[in-house]
């Protein structure tokens, strides 16, 4: 077996040193009835070539985003990732390192995490950010739990425009924690109503902008009202590129910002791995979940980095930890950070502008089609279209014409069958948009 360096001579010699007659001796603590007598009923080992063929065939059974005109978003975004990013994250020293518990031989990972935390803080307009969460939805759930710890109140208001998966993940985690979630009505144009629900019982209000329908929400008045009632504003985003164009949540008074970082550096991956971003104000940092990397010095006084404030974490605090989180999304952080380092301020802003222009163009095109109306007043690179047919049927029909034309709202939450989320990034060319237009006209007519 190509991955196993021991041969029979080695095994024999090692058993001799151990003083065991056979490998079975080492499994003597296993109860007799649980000892497998034969191989499990699975195929035997195969050559690399055989497996590559098998997997290539499976891969070919799906339609990849890059192979067709593509307009899906709703929490996962197709962007062009520079080749440099994937090359660097595959370096053995990054790819095959563990969590940096031994800082003297982990500065590569640690320094890049410090850079990541700073970039996320800058992007969100917040004081500090952690070293990532699993994804945006779990970051959102953790933020609500954190708000309870901070405020010692347990009622959370989730805005109607919060991505339904994020709301669901939050409800799942919160349900066991005695956190009440206010009911929501997931339809476009209702986020501003959250303001009316905030009162002294409110621990936090969770608002996404751009929201799941693509609408950009003014967070400042919500923050003001929340703060008046000693509640936290948790601002959510699912597309980091949007923050290159729109006001940061930090500028608008958010206390905690959570979001999905996949759009920078990380591929679609059918939904995972992605990378959760988590930022907050300085005064909340000791209530934050997840790893944190901090600056310090070594015995020679040289600047270096370590994991820090780990008394918040499960491996030190056990049942008193701020979260049970252990593994983060390290390699995706690195990809995010490299992509962002390449972009810089200027590149990110231009990328955002190109996304917005592509979406504006697409919105004009769709508005010109009978049976399709753009619902949004505002949007960044994604918006909601009201169709004259059920959206799930429309996207299947579009797929047959070789266009992946967006995400039906009903995939995210039941109801709203006539609403379709459509996204255009810098990867949508003029020809792609034209192909979409042609196909959509045919499907809707």
């Amino acid at each position: 077996m190509r991955y196993l360096p021991l041969n029979e001579n080695d095994r024999k010699a090692m058993l001799d040193v151990i003083g065991a007659d056979s490998i079975d001796d080492l499994f003597q603590d296993v109860p007799e009835k649980a000892r497998l007598k034969a191989l499990v009923d699975l195929p035997k080992h195969q050559s690399e070539q055989a497996i590559e063929r098998h997997m290539a065939k499976l891969s070919a059974k799906s339609v990849s985003a890059g192979s067709v005109p593509f307009f899906c978003g709703a929490g996962a975004y197709k962007h062009h990732i520079p080749a440099t990013v994937d090359h660097l994250i595959q370096r053995s020293e990054f790819l095959t390192a563990y969590t940096p518990y031994q800082p003297e031989i982990s500065q590569g990972t640690l320094q890049s995490l410090f850079e990541f935390q700073t970039q996320v803080a800058l992007l969100t307009g917040m004081d500090v950010a952690n070293a990532s969460m699993y994804d945006g939805s779990t970051a959102c759930a953790e933020a609500v739990v954190m708000a309870k710890r901070v405020t010692r109140k347990s009622r959370a208001i989730l805005a109607p425009g919060l991505h339904p998966h994020y709301a669901a993940a939050t409800q799942t985690l919160a349900s066991t924690l005695d956190i009440q979630i206010d009911e929501r009505d997931c339809r476009p144009g209702r986020d501003d109503h959250v303001i009316d629900h905030i009162n002294d019982d409110t621990a936090c209000v969770v608002v996404q902008s751009p929201n799941v329908f693509g609408e950009i929400i003014d967070l400042a008045p919500i923050a003001e009202k929340a703060h008046k009632h000693k509640a936290l504003l948790i601002a959510v985003f699912t597309e980091p590129v949007a923050l290159g164009a729109i006001k940061s949540p930090g500028e608008q008074g958010a206390d905690i910002v959570v979001g999905e970082g996949q759009g920078l550096g990380v591929g679609l991956n059918f939904g995972g791995p992605h990378v959760g971003l988590f930022a907050c104000t300085k005064k909340l940092v000791r209530q934050m979940p997840g790893r944190l990397c901090g600056e310090t010095v070594d015995a020679n006084g040289e600047r270096g980095f370590v994991l820090t404030l780990s008394t918040r974490e499960q491996h030190i605090r056990r049942e008193k930890a701020t979260s049970n989180i252990c593994t983060n999304s390290g390699l995706c952080c690195l990809a995010f950070t490299i992509h962002m380092s390449l972009l810089g301020d200027a590149g990110l802003k231009r990328l955002a502008a190109l996304n917005h222009e592509a979406a504006c163009h697409l919105a004009d095109v769709i508005d010109g089609i009978d049976g399709a109306d753009v619902v949004n007043e505002t949007f960044f690179n994604e918006f909601t279209v009201k169709l004259n047919k059920p959206a799930t049927e429309v996207v299947e029909a579009l797929a047959e014409k070789g266009v992946l034309g967006g995400v039906p709202v009903s995939r995210l939450t039941e109801g709203n069958e006539d609403l379709l989320l459509v996204c255009a990034t810098e990867t949508a060319s003029e020809e792609d948009i034209h192909a979409f237009e042609t196909a959509l006209k045919e499907v809707l007519s």
Partner: protein, 493 residues
Amino acid sequence: QAVKLIFEVGTPRRTGIDLPEPKGRASRLGGHERKGEIGLPGLSEPETMRHYVRLSQKNYAIDLGIYPLGSCTMKHNPRLNEKVARMPGFADVHPLQPISTVQGALELMEQLSHWLMTLCNMPAVALTPKAGAHGELCGMMAIRARLDADGQSQRRRVLVPESAHGTNPATAVQCGFTVDEIPASGDGRVNMDALREKLEKSDDVAGIMLTNPNTCGLFERDIVEIADLIHAAGGYFYCDGANFNALVGRVRPGDLGVDAMHINLHKTFSTPHGGGGPGSGPTVLSDALKDFAPLPFVVKDGDKLKLVEHEGGDAAASFGRMCAFHGQMGMYTRALTYMMSHGSDGLKQATEDAVLNANYIQASLADVMTVAFKGTCMHEALFDDRFLKDTGVDTLDFAKAMIDEGYHPMTMYFPLVVHGAMLIEPTESESKGELDRFIQSMRSLVERAKAGEAESFKQAPVYAPMRRLDETRAARNPVLRWTPPADNAEAAE
């Protein structure tokens, strides 16, 4: 040589990505435009490349040498897996594309499930959990949902051995349970008397969270009895699967009475750890729990596959959704590739080699270091610090000295049940030659420690990219992000 931070290399006006000029269309941002500089530095592509290549060389990695972190299963990461994970039908597929356009991806999930269920002899697996701790959450939530469904909502006490990973109690609490610690017996296993006592005449026990092999590297001999006791007491058995690498192909958790167990694909099935993730923690579930599995999941739909994404119907009892989308596809592809590469014969052999390697280390160091518990171990060897008594060297010093020998240290000070613990997990990826060199290095370190060279241990490491780092300072005055230095001109005045 120190590597500057990107903030000290790039500037916000520079960029390493060429993009076409925007055309200047009217904005639909509704007045929410971001104004002013964000402060993100841009680096040209060559600067970026050099920055991260240089940084990378400051890391230790499994590709450079043995990485014997106990409980972490740092095994070889085959590059075939990386290649497969990047195939466009897996890497470049959107989670919400029409179901007809993602049949290959769903099929892969189905195949992965089949392998995991077969290796565990369990009837169901929830793929979505995004890491081990998330898998624990999944299992414990399923237990809670089952208890609630059975009108047993008073059951909120979870038994956790004191040797458990910190995630176990943290998870229990995050699910709204309380934690009740079980002490260890003298041989490093669950104290059965204590366990029985805790279960006696109680109706508040939700279950037990037990790692097997446990964190002392020992198989819980009484595991079947433990399962029976828990079940008899009305609770469920959550098994922490972090150490599944000692069992694959030889022992099936389903045969031990386990109700739920997460599987760290990034440990047992070799998806690379990437400096801290991403991981993946599919959780196998027993008949008692399987109806409570989280959304979404794949089901057959004629000769096609489909996803169940909403509550009700097939998911009437589901405890809900744990995250957006369907979990860690990128890890599924790697893990399935790994499993198919090994096959049932190779997986069994890998398990045996992992256990053999650990016992070889234990046996080869038993005369100079102190083995924590007598007898053979499973896939990791646990030592305590008795052999360092009176040397002036402690476990931390010893670990840092290993760095100067060219090795990554073992897990230290865990499990908590032995003093100054050193937990060594070599995995099956190490050759006898590498192990022999490692053993030789360890023996010479012990010799040096006993020869009174404590001072040199306190100085270690000296051959690493950095000397020992001041962790106290980092925690006392946290600097968690870069900030621009005060303007030099001003400072000079």
